[in-house]
């Protein structure tokens, strides 16, 4: 990687177990990992869920570009971690001399913009049941782009919980539970503690499209 030696004033070290930032904390910095691994977690209900484990030279906390938006997950040092800490005001200084990092951040933003747009599409559906179905379509689209070809006909398995679905649909867990129960009674989904199976994704596509038309 290019010369990062001149950026020592942005360098931070975290010890194993130390929190870099907490979920819900307003964020104004984002981070480039230089050494060590960082665990990204979220507390869902009563369980701390691991979302990701990141290492050099990955970027995290980039939504701080929104300034003051609450963090959507917690970042904890998994071992001794060295990072460069940046914010909206000074990130250009780093990017200027480091096109690899700039490109990496550009890709991260690309992904986030898509995620947000897709989320917007879900939230603008009026029918709550369609919102839930559309969450699965979104998950299918994003999973599909990373694992092309590997699909089992119309059936899809999603490693999500009811809480996750509720979060994406902008609904409360109880309501989502009830509506997923309806889908289950219609034999359209199967519910497991750590995953949900959609039996026919095309059925969900047709259902969402029928609700989207104005």
């Amino acid at each position: 990687m290019a010369d990062l030696a001149g950026f020592s004033r942005f360098a931070r070290t975290y010890q194993s177990g130390e929190i870099i930032f907490s979920e819900y904390e307003p964020g104004d910095s984002f981070y480039l990992i230089q050494a060590g691994r960082v665990r990204i977690t979220k507390i869902v209900g009563d369980i701390e869920k691991n979302i990701d484990i990141l290492s050099a030279p990955e970027i995290f906390g980039e939504m701080a570009i929104l300034e003051g938006a609450p963090r959507s997950a917690t970042a904890i040092a998994l071992e001794t971690v060295k990072v460069l800490e940046f914010n909206r005001a000074n990130f250009e200084i780093l990017m200027m001399g480091n096109p690899q990092i700039a490109l990496r951040l550009l890709k991260v933003f690309t992904k986030r913009i898509y995620d947000q747009k897709r989320r917007f599409m879900i939230l603008t559906l009026d029918d709550p049941q369609a919102k839930i179905a559309d969450v699965f379509l979104m998950l299918d689209e994003t999973q599909g782009s990373t694992v092309p070809g590997e699909q089992l006909g119309d059936k899809r398995e999603f490693k999500v919980t009811v809480d996750d679905v509720a979060h994406w649909a902008g609904m409360n867990t109880a309501e989502v539970q009830t509506l997923l129960g309806h889908f289950f009674n219609q034999h359209r989904v199967e519910l497991f503690p750590d995953h949900i199976v959609v039996k026919n994704i095309n059925d969900f596509i047709r259902f969402v499209n029928s609700k989207r038309k104005k």
Partner: protein, 356 residues
């Protein structure tokens, strides 16, 4: 090498929904990106200037094209594959920086649109979410993580409706960390009932029953709301410093509050916490002297039991077991809550020293 493509007027370079891996630069002619605004459904025509890139996001992010790229006047277009674009960008950082700015603005815009659709104002969720995150870590006996999160809660929401509770939890986290270490010791909070779990976006986040942690006096607290004094903010900043083990800085901040003397409630709190800082700094003599001053000048100090307990601990650290015992015994002889943390701690300390 990127290839030049020539397109006739009225032809289409790509359609919405296409999977495309090319990034384009317009060299000559006119191209319009046509799409429906996601909010209003209105058709938007975005004219591309010569020299401008298009198709960047969908190619880099590997998702379907979001617009029709329609040629208005005969055009020459340079097409990069993603690897070609990446190679090109290595020597053209300015272009990437410019794109970063455009994308970060787009991200801010769409984020705001999404926010507006959420059922609850995020701010309320964020405050309760942060508190519950701290509570979760405390319940899981991850004391140092609990200490960080609760410290942050107090920094951001010094007048928040859970501020008092967070302060108490923070104290518990610190005490448990010091006594047992992370992951050890008895459960500081009763099981999972301490507060009911809730999804990040569920309504009624703050309106749920809240478990046993809510008391009526705390419920009345929000009325003071944002108007809480600067002194309070300074105080909770100092508490946050303390929780980050920045004792010297905390001590300085607390001294400023105590010397300011504006608000008797916070002066008293600050005086007490100054003693805790001195103790944390292993300044036993100074801690004893400081607390003795409080005992003499403010015998009705609300934290008296804790003051006497820490004085006992200070004597213990100095090796004076007799005096330590006397202070712990004094804590136990005080009227008031049988289950107060100071009493429990004093009882334990006394047992450790071989009884009264």
């Amino acid at each position: 090498m990127p290839k030049v493509g020539t397109y006739r007027a009225n032809s289409v370079i790509y359609f919405q929904g296409d999977q495309g891996d090319k990034i384009y630069v317009l060299q000559r002619g006119r191209v319009s990106l046509n799409y429906n605004d996601i909010e209003t459904g209105k058709l938007i025509r975005e004219i591309i200037q010569t020299g401008e890139f298009f198709g960047v996001k969908s190619a880099l992010g590997r998702y379907p094209r979001e617009e029709n790229a329609v040629v208005l006047e005969d055009a020459n277009v340079l097409a990069f594959t993603v690897p070609e674009f990446e190679a090109f960008s290595m020597s053209n950082t300015r272009i990437i920086i410019k794109m970063l700015k455009v994308f970060s603005n787009q991200l801010r815009h769409i984020h705001k649109q999404v926010e507006n659709l959420m059922e609850n104002p995020t701010a309320v969720n964020a405050e309760m979410g942060l508190f519950k995150t701290g509570e979760y870590y405390l319940r899981s006996r991850m004391y140092s993580q609990a200490r960080y999160v609760l410290g942050r809660y107090l920094t951001y929401y010094p007048a928040g409706k859970m501020a008092e509770q967070a302060g108490r939890y923070l104290e518990t986290a610190e005490a448990s960390l010091a006594r047992y270490g992370d992951g050890k010791g008895p459960a500081p909070l009763a099981g999972s009932q301490a507060s009911s779990p809730a999804a990040p976006s569920s309504p009624g986040f703050s309106a749920d029953q809240g478990g046993p942690s809510f008391s009526s006096s705390q419920a009345a607290k929000p009325s003071e709301g944002a108007s809480l004094s600067d002194v309070a903010k300074e105080y909770y900043n100092a508490v946050s410093l303390f929780s980050q083990e920045k004792y010297q800085e905390a001590l300085k901040a607390l001294k400023a509050i105590a010397d300011g003397g504006d608000d008797s409630e916070y002066v008293a709190k600050a005086q007490f916490d100054m003693g805790r800082c001195l103790f944390a700094l292993s300044q036993w003599d100074l801690a004893i002297k400081h607390f003795t001053g409080i005992v003499q000048s403010a015998p009705k100090h609300p934290d008296m039991a804790d003051i006497l307990y820490i004085m006992g601990q200070s004597w213990d650290k100095k090796g004076d077991k007799a005096r330590a015992k006397a202070f712990f015994a004094k804590v136990l002889s005080m009227p008031g809550d049988e289950d107060s943390s100071a009493r429990i701690k004093a009882k334990k300390a006394l047992n450790a020293l071989g009884g009264a």
